[in-house]
């Protein structure tokens, strides 16, 4: 019997850990992603002959808390019907007790994967779509709490999907549809998981707002996500990812954008933009070469900005004036 190499041992152990989907309508295909809590597999829905993404708890994280959290994530996603949020198809429990849910299979790249050579305006337009998606969730009473480039997927046509709502905070909002009466278990879990205990720290360092990092759960609101959006904006503008030790910015941020990032990431929530939409409006102003609220520009900067904004018109006027001058000079001669 030949000694199995370490790599094979690890692979076989992993294969053994993979969920056994017998008894479900799904067939496992391959592992396509993993996080702290769960794995995401490409799977086939045999009933409908279509590919889906199947998220299941890692075996090491299959305690009651994690199971309730995954169920809750599926319900949060089911509530949020938006093009920027992946739609959930099904939720269930495997024979070994692990919870899973299936969702639309998204093909694309994560924002933290090697960046392409897209221009700053393109990256900013992408950021606007992230903000719009997050603002939609906020309007439905959901705070994501773990926004970071690794949780943003960009599709082949530039579509943006905000992923991993596993630690989202849900507050009741008038827009939320009423919970069906026939879901007592769900209700029980919601009340359990919806109330994250004060002092509990969930999120990603570098993208977490100070109040979140301190476990001040009661202070967490839309502005907590605004802080993370500020960190994402900084990443998109400068290339700086605070989760990668030793990696500094690779591009310099234009001063108005640097000020927008600074305001979004203010330590005091009251000093930040009050909503994701407000932050998006600021970035849209920059894109339109309008002045941003967070930055007071000097006369020279203003002239330069206006010059850039009205470049075509200024050139036309200058060309017209040059023509007039030429005509006058010709007449004089």
């Amino acid at each position: 019997m030949t000694r199995l190499p370490d790599r094979t041992v690890e692979h076989l152990r992993r294969v053994s850990e993979w969920p056994d989907l017998s008894g479900t309508r799904y067939q496992l295909e391959e592992l396509i992603g993993q996080g702290g809590m769960g794995w995401i597999f490409r799977a086939t829905d045999r009933e409908l002959s279509r590919e889906v993404a199947l998220k299941v708890l890692r075996t090491g994280a299959s305690d009651l808390d994690s199971m309730a959290r995954l169920r809750r994530e599926a319900r949060v996603l089911a509530r949020l019907e938006h093009p920027g949020i992946v739609s959930v198809h099904d939720v269930g429990t495997l024979a070994d007790g692990r919870v899973f849910y299936t969702m639309k299979l998204v093909r694309g790249v994560r924002l933290d994967q090697p960046a392409d050579d897209s221009s700053l305006p393109d990256r900013l337009r992408l950021f606007l779509r992230i903000c719009e998606t997050v603002a939609f969730a906020h309007a439905h009473g959901v705070i994501h709490r773990d926004l970071k480039p690794g949780n943003i997927m960009v599709g082949p046509y530039g579509e943006v999907l905000v992923m991993d709502w596993g630690i989202a905070k849900v507050r009741e909002a008038p827009e939320l549809p009423a919970r069906p009466e026939s879901a007592p278990q769900a209700a029980e879990e919601e009340s359990f998981m919806g109330q994250t205990i004060e002092g509990t720290i969930l999120g990603t360092p570098g993208y977490m707002a100070p109040e979140q990092a301190k476990g001040q759960v009661g202070l967490i609101d839309a502005r907590t996500d605004v802080y993370a959006l500020g960190a994402i904006l900084r990443y998109l503008v400068t290339g700086f990812d605070p989760t990668r030790p030793g990696a500094g910015p690779v591009r310099k941020a234009p001063l108005p954008l640097a000020a927008v990032v600074e305001k979004a990431q203010a330590l005091d929530p009251a000093q930040r933009y009050s909503s994701a939409l407000e932050l998006a409006e600021e970035v849209a102003r920059f894109l339109d070469a309008r002045p941003v609220v967070a930055y007071r520009e000097g006369p020279l900067e203003r002239a330069r900005r206006l010059g850039a904004k009205y470049q075509a018109a200024i050139l036309l006027i200058l060309a017209y004036l040059a023509m007039r001058l030429l005509v006058l000079v010709t007449r004089e001669l």
Partner: protein
């Protein structure tokens, strides 16, 4: 070596059986899973030279068989593999105290173990893990997986699922550094539709997992230990 047990009875219970057939089968299963961890433990933890370590490995298992030491195992007190390692350490300590080892007579049939192959692996094992406990544990897991693979091979041959096995071999066992072959590539190589490739692979993985858990269950002292081992070693929750 070690026909796969037909039932899910624990090896410990089978080793207490008075039926020589059951006892022998359980013993073979035990040796198959543990002889390499035992041999590496003697070579590396006790720094015993290869020829002597080979003799001692044989003698250790034969002594277990002869003296029925495993009858003393109490699943409430420790894990079976921990008990076995402690038995081994005590056995070696006693051997050292006696300073001369009992030389066995010609009537004893030695176990058929591939020591030459194991000896080639000793240096590799020594460089991988410094801690004897971790080493024993890792080598035990490795043996367990290898036995489950043998079981899978046997099962595939018995049921005529050789293509399933060949696909499993290519995709899950012979993964090059660049990653596994794509399903499409395998489909072309085996002249099958991609859906059939994934179906066959799904079956082989499911069967491998089942056989692995069967092996593990057999080698544990109790159902409780089995559940704990399944979760700790393989990460799986068993129903």
């Amino acid at each position: 070596m070690a026909a796969f047990p037909q039932t899910r009875t624990s090896v410990v219970r089978e080793l207490r059986s008075r039926d020589p057939e059951v006892y022998r089968r359980a013993f073979d299963g035990l040796v198959a899973a543990y002889w390499k961890p035992v041999y590496f433990h003697l070579r590396l933890r006790w720094e015993i030279l290869d020829a002597e370590a080979q003799d001692l490995t044989q003698e250790f298992f034969l002594r277990l068989l002869e003296k029925r030491y495993l009858d003393r195992y109490d699943s409430a007190r420790s894990r079976f593999r921990t008990f076995l390692r402690l038995c081994l350490d005590r056995f070696i300590t006693n051997q050292k105290k006696a300073s001369t080892r009992l030389k066995r007579g010609g009537e004893t049939v030695p176990l058929s173990l591939d020591f030459a192959g194991a000896e080639q692996e000793v240096r590799e094992v020594a460089s991988e893990y410094a801690d004897p406990e971790t080493r024993f544990h890792r080598e035990w897991v490795r043996s367990l997986l290898a036995l489950a693979l043998e079981d899978l091979r046997r099962r595939c041959e018995e049921t005529g699922k050789t293509t399933h096995l060949a696909l499993f071999q290519r995709y899950d066992l012979e993964t090059p550094d660049s990653g596994p072959a794509s399903y499409q590539h395998l489909a072309e190589a085996f002249d099958l539709p991609v859906t059939q490739v994934t179906n066959h692979l799904a079956w082989a993985r499911r069967e491998f997992r089942r056989l692995l858990l069967e092996r593990l269950r057999h080698l544990c002292g109790s159902e409780r230990e089995f559940r704990a081992e399944a979760k700790a070693l393989l990460g799986v929750e068993v129903a």
